[in-house]
């Protein structure tokens, strides 16, 4: 097990970098934001992602994907973070694919995985509380003569405004067991409310009221549902860490360039040791963050027993580092850094939102502590 990426992954990284860097995503994000086009923002670069085959990166070849590992797929998230690109890569290609691959349901796998690989958008509607608390599920599903009825409210549904299908955890009214349900987003009884987040991405709430479902909608109905969810959360956390790394690294690189060009007191501000030391510390933190993203992906691919520990470690530490780096990036730019016209603040916002999703630093420090026996 090595923390170096192999040649195939390097090629994937390079092509993702070229694609996202060339996608003009920042200008497009600004345009869509100013016209409040939340559908456009959620779709983002998705068509290009699908054309490049990246929507099937984690899906095995037998289901129409390319069957690569986490070490490969995090490269895409990192590049999306670096270019501020949007699109349902995390929700559909990473988290939903992971749940469906893990589950023991061949019919759904055969139906849905090839569809995701070719661009169908599926997302996980799991969160119910404003602070991440994945096992606190109040949504209910009743079962009457083989027909199911789903009710409950889900919030923070990533790309929930454009998904065709939703994966919804709900508790059985019979026995309290968590079921995973695959629900069409246009089913009767579904009401979607869309707001705009600080990063201009949609913040989506979905209310389910007596949504009628059949046995064909059940992905999982036994105790393993929780394990499937955990797997999806952990791989999602690792990809969020990669996305934060990409955004923070780009903000840092731009900041170092600025220190080399901005002149005050008759000299480049990068000559001041006070600023040099701050930049050097941020560089070190980013090297640590990069190592941790790679480590958590590598562990996820090879050592299931420790993947939770490293996913939490990466989400927490990379989150803290990325917040520190992007906050410093704004500060080191001075006045121009706090204007909306200048891009540096967009990285700060992107990182803050990613750090709040799927558990913030405190959540993951607590989870990590539990795993250490504290």
């Amino acid at each position: 097990m090595s923390l170096l990426i192999d040649d195939d992954t390097r090629m994937l990284r390079d092509s993702a970098q070229r694609f996202f860097a060339g996608s003009d995503s920042v200008r497009s994000l600004r345009r869509l934001r100013d016209s409040r086009d939340l559908t456009g923002i959620a779709h983002g670069t998705w068509n290009g992602i699908v054309e490049l085959g990246l929507s099937g990166v984690l899906i095995p070849e037998q289901f129409g994907g390319s069957g690569l590992d986490t070490m490969a797929s995090i490269q895409i998230s990192e590049m999306m973070g670096a270019s501020l690109a949007t699109g349902p890569f995390l929700s559909s290609a990473v988290m939903s694919s992971t749940i469906l691959l893990a589950c023991n349901n061949d019919r759904i796998k055969n139906d849905i995985l090839p569809a995701i690989a070719s661009g169908s958008i599926v997302t996980l509607a799991s969160e119910e509380t404003s602070r991440h608390n994945p096992l606190s599920i109040s949504a209910t599903v009743g079962n009457q003569n083989g027909r199911y009825v789903l009710s409950g409210n889900k919030i923070a549904v990533i790309d929930g405004n454009i998904a065709e299908k939703l994966i919804v955890p709900a508790k059985s009214t019979d026995n309290g067991q968590v079921l995973l349900l695959l629900v069409n987003s246009d089913a009767n009884g579904i009401v979607t409310k869309v707001g705009m987040g600080i990063d201009s991405h949609p913040v989506v709430e979905i209310a389910f009221s007596n949504v009628a479902l059949g046995p064909e909608n059940v992905i999982s109905d036994d105790e393993r549902s929780i394990d499937y969810l955990d797997k999806a959360f952990d791989i999602g956390r690792i990809h969020l860490a990669a996305e934060m790394l990409g955004a923070a690294q780009e903000a840092f690189d731009r900041t170092v360039d600025y220190l080399k060009t901005r002149v005050q007191f008759g000299r480049k501000i990068g000559e001041f040791q006070a600023l040099q030391h701050r930049a050097a510390l941020l560089f070190g933190e980013l090297e640590i963050a990069r190592s941790l993203v790679l480590k958590s992906a590598s562990i996820y691919d090879t050592d299931q027993a420790r993947s939770a520990e490293f996913a939490s470690l990466a989400k927490a530490r990379v989150g803290e580092i990325a917040k520190h780096v992007t906050t410093e990036a704004v500060q080191l730019h001075g006045g121009i850094g706090v204007t909306d016209d200048f891009d540096i603040g967009l990285f700060l916002k992107r990182v803050k939102v990613a750090s709040e999703r799927l558990g913030d630093t405190s959540f993951h420090a607590e989870r990590y502590a539990g795993l250490q026996g504290l």
């Binding site: 040099q276 070190g284 090297e287 941790l292 470690l313 530490r317 504290l374």
Partner: protein
């Protein structure tokens, strides 16, 4: 891949057969074998382990065979490290000759110097120390004043070095000396070997630190004569050698992990879970620092993987040094807190933790202070402007 596997199998069985049982398990301070003419082995196992490892050249795994080294590729050396750590085999030799002087000679030395000095280093027969810092040349190393005057075929050395690790216990010293005071600061320095510290005019005396330990010494030179053949590299170009070696020194200090017991485990053992839960602020500090340490370890692992693939960290080794030593101070300081009053009682069962903390402080200073490391990153890696 299959070649690597068969090498691994061979290493594993050789270690299994040859590593004495006493030389396995957690390594504490008294387990280090420094070697040298005056060395007294702790026990027969220590002597045997050094002999066996050095007979294969595995005290210096990547050095060429003709100089006594193991001749291993970076990948094979990594396999050896992994297999040693798998059985917690002790390092057979703790040697500045291997970490510092050897790389300098391999890169800058003459054929005669390599043949003369490298094999005894591999065998642990000569203990080398490093004479860099001086009373008035610490962070600003390049201002060093120890003078070496070339008179005929000999250098005559006068001056003083300080912060020389184990200088008073060493057989030989490699030094930075000023050979041309008329030149600009970087350009009048040479790299010189004083390969016998018992010659007239050399005096080494130990320095006592906050922890009470005597790891460092002052070394004085009063008309010390050495042959012109002891010059390494080009006259007045010693700074090139020094810069090259500083990378190794920083990587070495950065890679040091004396005690690998994790903080949460220490806290649970010493306080118990319930007492820890009753102090949520302390528990939070422990968790946060342990996460920082685990994250840092991922970086060490990545750089190790890069080194095994032939990618050298270069100036990035400054970062390893910076974070390793800064985190170590915080870790040991917090460990003292976990132990409470027991942690500051030198005569109690836990008194060692306070010494570990005090002993961690000099590592932020030696080999270039933390602040100097940040300068190096800013200038060499980020290429920020200015002097």
């Amino acid at each position: 891949m299959s070649d690597g596997d068969s090498f691994r199998t061979e290493v594993r069985s050789w270690l299994e057969y040859n590593c004495p049982i006493e030389k396995r398990g957690p390594m504490n301070e008294t387990d280090h074998c420094f070697g040298g003419r005056r060395w007294r082995f702790k026990d027969d196992a220590q002597r045997l382990w050094l002999e066996r490892m050095s007979s294969r050249g595995w005290t210096a795994p990547e050095w060429p065979r003709q100089y006594g080294g193991g001749g291993l590729s970076p990948v094979e050396a990594q396999v050896l490290r992994e297999e040693m750590s798998r059985i917690q085999a002790h390092s057979p030799l703790t040697s500045l000759g291997i970490w510092m002087l050897g790389p300098a000679l391999l890169r800058f030395g003459t054929e005669e110097q390599k043949q003369k000095y490298l094999p005894p280093i591999v065998r642990g027969e000569v203990r080398w120390c490093q004479g860099y810092s001086e009373p008035n040349a610490g962070s600003d190393l390049v201002s060093l004043q120890t003078r070496a005057e070339l008179i005929g075929e000999e250098f005559v050395i006068n001056g003083a070095k300080i912060w020389t690790s184990y200088g008073h216990l060493s057989d030989a010293i490699f030094c930075l000396v000023r050979t041309d005071p008329s030149k600009p600061r970087h350009e009048g320095i040479s790299f010189l070997l004083i390969d016998d510290m018992t010659v007239p005019g050399v005096v080494a005396s130990p320095l006592k630190l906050l922890s009470g330990a005597e790891h460092f010494s002052q070394v004085f030179f009063d008309d010390v004569h050495v042959s012109h053949d002891n010059l390494v590299g080009v006259l007045n170009r010693g700074w090139d050698v020094a810069k090259y070696l500083l990378l190794f020194e920083r990587a070495m200090i950065g890679g040091r992990t004396a005690d690998t017991t994790r903080l949460p485990a220490i806290a649970v053992k010493h306080m118990g879970r319930d007492a820890l839960r009753a102090e949520p602020m302390l528990r939070a500090k422990i968790i946060e620092l342990d996460m920082e340490l685990a994250a840092f370890e991922a970086m060490v692992e990545r750089y190790d993987d890069e080194a095994a693939a032939g990618i050298m960290p270069g100036a990035k080794s400054s970062m390893l040094k910076y974070w390793a030593t800064e985190l170590a101070v915080r870790r040991h300081e917090l460990t003292v807190s976990v132990m409470g009053i027991d942690g500051i009682n030198l005569d109690g069962d836990s008194g060692k933790v306070a010494l570990n903390w005090l002993a961690a402080l000099p590592n932020r200073i030696g080999g270039g202070t933390s602040e100097i490391q940040l300068n190096v990153i800013a200038k060499r890696v980020l290429e920020l402007p200015g002097a």
